[in-house]
């Protein structure tokens, strides 16, 4: 008989998530988080690995064709059984599809093929400012305004905020369970994504200051 997983112990061993993702550091380092996740059973660890692989795929800024995205989405939805993981992936892909549709419409292009629940709705209401999705996705007008104002950082922050709010709301329903852990990891992923972005900005700022201070003697950076 396998040793039963104690979500009570695992979740109590993780530091609290901050109220917002806009913080300087992740509450727990990746290394330490991986150490704690070793308490999971093989089945749960497999599910966590699936969702972590999706986040890694989602983070890569590689150019992908619609066909590739659709194939990945179909593969994930066939492979994954956990309802919350499916929800996490489906919501993220919905956000991607809507964002892509807003960008393409702004550039005067045709509707994206996209994936997820709202593809048909977007095609049907292509000319409507929010694709008649305001009830399900009230953030669309604000994101559209960010895009029109050409403030990509604010748009990115808004998208992370939308996802963060959703996971925070959902996590109110789960305590000391596998679902609570998944939602913790989902929010950790957002904080990590944001703090890494800040690190990159910080590095660039440091290089600029260094160049200014050293002038012609500054080392070249790659």
């Amino acid at each position: 008989m396998p040793y039963p997983v104690s979500y009570y112990m695992l979740l109590a061993s993780l530091p609290h998530m901050p109220r917002t993702f806009d913080v300087e550091h992740v509450p727990i380092s990746r290394l330490r988080l991986e150490q704690r996740l070793r308490m999971l059973s093989a089945r749960d660890a497999g599910t966590v690995e699936q969702v972590q692989r999706f986040w890694l795929w989602d983070r890569q800024h590689a150019e992908r064709t619609d066909q590739e995205v659709r194939e990945e989405y179909d593969r994930l939805m066939t492979a994954i059984r956990n309802p919350l993981v499916r929800n996490i992936i489906a919501f993220r892909m919905d956000v991607r599809t809507i964002t892509s549709a807003l960008r393409r419409r702004r550039l005067g292009m045709a509707p994206p093929e996209g994936v997820g629940r709202w593809v048909d709705q977007i095609h049907r209401h292509w000319d409507h400012p929010d694709f008649r999705l305001i009830r399900e996705h009230p953030w669309i007008p604000a994101l559209k305004a960010d895009m029109e104002a050409n403030v990509p950082l604010q748009a990115e922050r808004r998208l992370l905020q939308v996802t963060w709010n959703r996971w925070t709301r959902l996590s109110d329903d789960y305590h000391f369970s596998f679902e609570a852990l998944l939602l913790y990891l989902a929010r950790w992923e957002i904080v990590d994504r944001w703090t890494r972005r800040n690190e990159q900005l910080g590095c660039r700022r440091f290089e600029t200051l260094l160049t200014e201070a050293l002038g012609a003697h500054a080392p070249s950076h790659h």
Partner: protein, 159 residues
């Protein structure tokens, strides 16, 4: 002994021991939950270990209430007393079991909340104390009602 008598006396005796058995099951589950949360929290805090582990013993009291009710119900089982013994034992035992398990969850949440804000420890334990209050109600009224079941003697020894 006929099958009917076997059933009646069996249920009567079960009723006497159910408060202890169910209370103990509840305490086991409740203390385990709270204890696991406390062990997890130990990995994330730098001090206050004793307080965290000490709090996990709170769901033990239901076993003690169960033992006292069992002693009060303990009497010679007759066909008149058996239904009352079973009904009272089962109901008070269930209340003790549920309160212990959920008190364990309350303590686990309190332990988790205390990790980053040690000053809220007392306040965080209030929900667990409220749950304890309901276990006490069930215990006291079981003691009162037990007196009305035929065959009882003062002190709860078999009559």
């Amino acid at each position: 002994m006929t099958m009917e008598e076997f059933l009646i006396f069996g249920l009567g005796w079960a009723g006497i021991f159910l408060p202890t058995a169910l209370g103990a099951i509840g305490s086991i589950l409740g203390c385990a939950r709270a204890g696991q949360a406390a062990c997890g929290a130990l990995l994330d805090v730098e001090s206050g270990y004793g307080r965290l582990i000490g709090a996990t013993a709170l769901p033990s009291s239901q076993t003690i209430y169960g033992i006292v009710v069992t002693m009060q119900l303990n009497r010679t089982v007759t066909s008149e007393a058996a239904p009352g013994l079973f009904a009272l034992g089962l109901l008070v035992g269930s209340a003790l079991l549920l309160s212990a398990v959920l008190q364990g969850s309350c303590v686990a949440s309190a332990v988790n909340a205390t990790k980053t804000k040690p000053e809220v420890f007392g306040l965080a334990m209030v929900p667990a104390a409220i749950v304890e209050g309901f276990a006490v109600f069930a215990f006291i009224f079981a003691m009162i009602i037990a007196g009305g079941i035929p065959g009882g003697t003062p002190g709860g020894t078999p009559g």
